[in-house]
Amino acid sequence: MINFSYTRAGGVAEAVREKSKANGAGRFIAGGTNLVDLLKENVERPTRIIDITRLPLTTVEEGPNGGLRLGALVSNADTAYHPEVQKRYPALARAILAGASPQLRNMATNGGNLLQRTRCYYFYDVALPCNKRVPGSGCPAIDGQNRVCGVLGTSEACIATHPSDMCVALAALEAVIRVSGPNGERTIPIADFHRLPGSTPHLETTLAADEIITAIDLPKNPYAEHSVYTKVRDRASYAFALVSVAALLELDGDTIKSARLALGGVAHKPWRLPEAEARLVGKTATKENFLPVAEALMKGATGYGHNTFKIELGKRAVVRALQLAAKGTAAVRGVNGQVAAAESVA
């Protein structure tokens, strides 16, 4: 950890101003669950830390057009257990509760979750090269220990994944990120928020250096009864996804009216392919109809050795998630109707 100055911002405008002063070497701190680890490992070396935990971004409110607005500083736990999230966006609740541990989810915030950084081993080890950490230094994961790395949308420069569970559900829900900067507010659709690595893996999002996330808007959706988040991981809890799937179905009897699918653990951003989803429309919800969609979603995937299995696993996880979604959200609700933390696969 290097020495830094610490400021606590009293308002959003002040936070933005403070951040601008740092010339790219500033960091907001929210829950600190990712940033502090990275500081200790010397991966993040900011000279200025701006504490945003006192900003008034801590509420879940009704959003425009029947949607819901999640404050950037609402904790992951409070978001997941919020009755409206539970009722209207169960896949999001499920996704958040499939991540990290209760202690971490109590600290972690929605804004911080969007910006959490990859878990690629090389990124975390400052003794080694890594294009994401030191542009141009190389990507040892490609020929190295890449079990946690991606198979879709990778580049010669970087094959890392975005490790968030929450963001996968947000992608399926077509959430909109609200941000504030020196020139006022703007919105970024989740699909455009995270970037693919290309030749600039150190640029992970389209958020500008002096912008702050203020909220996440969840649009109204028809999927609440058929929403699941399926996470496949190396142990039953407290592990990042090898592959995860948010699957949302709108059904008319057995027939699919519309569908949304997003994958986690496979790419530098939550992976969506609206064309694949479109192939489900008008079909009955059967395994035979799910398989080609799973194939389509994983099309073009490249394995790098230790992670090649994710291609096959991804397909199977998509089929499983769609099967579970067809069965209905009720199956993942506990006795009191609450979506509980998922410990095993589903």
Partner: protein, 745 residues
Amino acid sequence: MTTTEYLGKPTSRVDGPAKVTGEAKYAAEFNVPNLAYGYIVSSGVTRGTIKSINAAEVEKIPGVLKVLTHENAPKTASLDRSHRDQLASTHGSPFRPLYQAELQHSLQPVALVVAETFEAARYAASLVQVEYEIAPHETDLHGSRAKAHPPKDSRTGYVPPPKKPRGTPEEAFEKAPFKVEAEYYQPAEHHNPMENFASTCVYGEDGKLTIYQKTQGVQNCQEYICSVFGLSKDEVQVISPFMGGGFGAGLRPTHELYLSVLAATALKRSVRVSMTRQQMFSFSHRPETIQDFKLAATPDGLLDSVTHTAIQESSRYEEFLETVVNWSGLVYTCPNVRLDHQLVYLDLASPADMRAPGAVTGLYGFECAIDELAYQAKLDPLAFRLKNYSEKDQNLDKLYSSKELREAYRQASEKFGWDQRPLDPRSTRRGSDLIGWGMATGCWEAMQGKAAAKAVLTPDGKLVVSSATSDIGTGTYTVMTMIAAEFSGVPIENVSFELGDSSMVYSPVEGGSWTVSSVGSAVKTVCEELKARLFKLAGKMDGAPLGDAKVEDVTFDQGEMRVTKNPVRNVTYAEALQANGLDKLELDTTELPQLVKQMTHGVYSHSAVFVEVAVDEDLGTIHVTRVVSAIAGGRILNPKTARSQIMGAIVWGISMALEEESMLDHQFGRFMNHNYAEYHVPVNADIHDIEVIFVPEHDDVVNPLGAKGLGEIGIVGVAAAVTNAVWHATGKRVRSLPVTLDKLL
């Protein structure tokens, strides 16, 4: 002994309250005035030489006292011999921190930044720049396999395989109808105890050192420091009252101990050095191992040929030796056996003993291969094992001192419901899961070493017994208190046991499940001698309170001696001391193992492990839904902590089977998943029903207590039982650990 007061009764940890209230202090928690902090800088390179380190520049940073490197570190003993601790191999060159420009492995310490505060040291350490001249390294066991060779060295506790094969294993294999030829693989694994290694070296006004150290052997550390730094024993005291897990990682002196003493003596000031979690991957680990098996059985299912070759990684600078293959020659009866143990030198830190070292590895592969053979012979795996039950240790041609394994099989299999098991794999389903049942045998040697104990009884009736052993979390404080109370006749609430101080009477390092056996036996003897002395004191008292009773006519309990048949004749221990004008009664004994008895027997503990798994057919995720383990481990002194030991070991066995792997990057020669987020061990959600059964065993040979020690036996065989259950569920033999879901897709 027929009735017992304390032994055999479930007893809560005497140190439990201290641990949960935080009163129990660990090595990095001993604070002294004017303490400086050392932060280790680790190498990013595996082989090569250090060309330069910007130490002088870093020393200018405010708060920094010194940057120690191989260039400026004070010289320590020159001979390798002086650096060998009790558990080093006999002829190796143990690693010496900050000794030379040449690198030996990745993450090795290359500098120590000492500063006024921990933060300053850590910050300055981040600014240390090391320039290396990089040389090629070798860390790939598979790639370097052709270089495997038999060990050249020896080490305490290592039993080389029998030199000559038994019978004619090749011939028997050729002609047998049922055969298995298979290779099993186990990756390197790290101990990862919760508490990081730390050393607080207090520099006294007289220059004497008091070192609060995380270790499993305070006297081993003391001897090591004396020998390396040329100090006498009265100049060095090593103290370690509590340990947040060791598992073998703390058997040998660790880097931070050497470094804290180096810095404290250089600066003439107290210094603390602790390791980061990442640095916990910079030394001991369970060695990566490849095992080849050729097994064969006769038409009626008798094991007729065993060939077992293990190829293990060792460091280049000293051979690491553990007993891997011998188990395969003794667990079942077999006339034709060839056992072979080989090493490949790699540019990695020396491996180290890790819970049930050797047995856990060897029996993982062997018990899986036996499962394969049983299926070839169309026999139930348990029936096959019973058919080939071993009545004597054929490696040594000796009878067992005791062996209730048959009873362990019976009790565990009944509890499990094993007789319902279909012979063929893929026979049972539950929803989207395939269900499988597997089993395995575990075996571990029961050892006793030399150890001493000291007893001090005071006129208030309180007894303090001590020995320089340690409590690595196993419950040593508790069991020794129980033994002392049992054999001294002092009520347990008046007994305390002290440990973890090198100035106490001799104890070997705490490892190998031999502490109860060795130190416990010494505690028993010293307490029995205490009673004899008390009886003599009573005899010298005015009015001879015990009359002319002989010692055998007297009952010692509740802190009192009384004539058994005439209890009105009695005297308390306290009165005996007071009447003789003693302010204390102090004695110590050294207990030697019952060598003659032990040499003529095979002395082992055994286990029978039964496991149920549920495997998601599509996704390959595995859950161990049920484990029943029956342990034949001699006399159980404290069933409560004993059960905890076995449960913990089973959890670790599941961990080994399904999760643990230190992932090496061969380009960098470095373990990459060096933190708790990425090095997986089980979480609560991974662990379901675990049932532990203790099968009574009477053993006069192992030691005077009849207890075999339970620290290791619980883990042996678990990984094999899980792997066998996964096969039974899926029909797939996964021959490499950990059995992760990708191997089942």
